[in-house]
Symmetry: C2
Subunit: 143 residues, 2 copies
Amino acid sequence: MPTTSAFEQSLRGAALRVTQPRLAVLTAVHEHPHADTDTIIRVARAGLGDVSHQAVYDVLRVLTAAGLVRRIEPSGSVARYEGRTGDNHHHVVCRSCGAIADVDCAVGDTPCLTAANDQGFTIDEAEVVYWGTCPTCSTTRST
Amino acid sequence: MPTTSAFEQSLRGAALRVTQPRLAVLTAVHEHPHADTDTIIRVARAGLGDVSHQAVYDVLRVLTAAGLVRRIEPSGSVARYEGRTGDNHHHVVCRSCGAIADVDCAVGDTPCLTAANDQGFTIDEAEVVYWGTCPTCSTTRST
DNA sequence: GCCCTCATCTTGACTCATTCCAGAAAGCCG
DNA sequence: CGGCTTTCTGGAATGAGTCAAGATGAGGGC
């Protein structure tokens, strides 16, 4: 995982001020991949003592806009954030417990980016969500 | 578009009772592809006179569970519903105006269903969302 | 055709993630 | 170090979606 100073460089590189809440949120996102906002707030508070939820929401939005974190929103779930950016990876979501895991695409770095019929749209990103059952839920299935 | 009697048969086929709200919602979903809940409520009311939002929510959930309608939730948008089911198609979403259009997959009927590394998950569906700009927004772009 | 039963609809209140607002505090640059 | 600007705090508001209890009406049996 990146160090605090690495996070500082990331922030400065994005022309953002380096503040305690931002470092805490950035750290929390990297420590807890796919964490929801509430988890991030709690983790950030564990590291800083106290942070307003408003600050966390604001920081997450700023970081998302700067491309330092990625926002994912599976259907039926609250917004989640992850630190892995740059590489084009997708997600598997468990229908049973909601767990999320990263997957690389089978086709390449831009899978299915060429739709059969793009309806005149200018497509710049393809987001893929796989739905299934995680190993834990598959094992403990109650039949 | 299917007729009312066709919707009735669909409902009966799914072992669901045929009621006015259900026919109205089913019609609304087919008339307005990718409509959000609020739109569906208004369209259903235009046809029936008055329907509680609760009934619409309930009907949509039942129809989704029965596979008669499909629920889609692009990030940053409210839930939307469409009547096209059965065929495996995906969606393009305009980053600018939020417009949604259907696209068939370039690869086949189950694109990218084989992830490079499935993390032990049992994947049963791949949902693809293309992000881009619609023709209208591309044309009227303000430099 | 009539009645009974239970799924379904109505009404109304409520939850909870997220956003908005205004003021106070702190980081950055010179 | 001082000033300016951005960011953080705290509280309240918004709005999609959900929960609960009672009334209604669709379907099936007689």
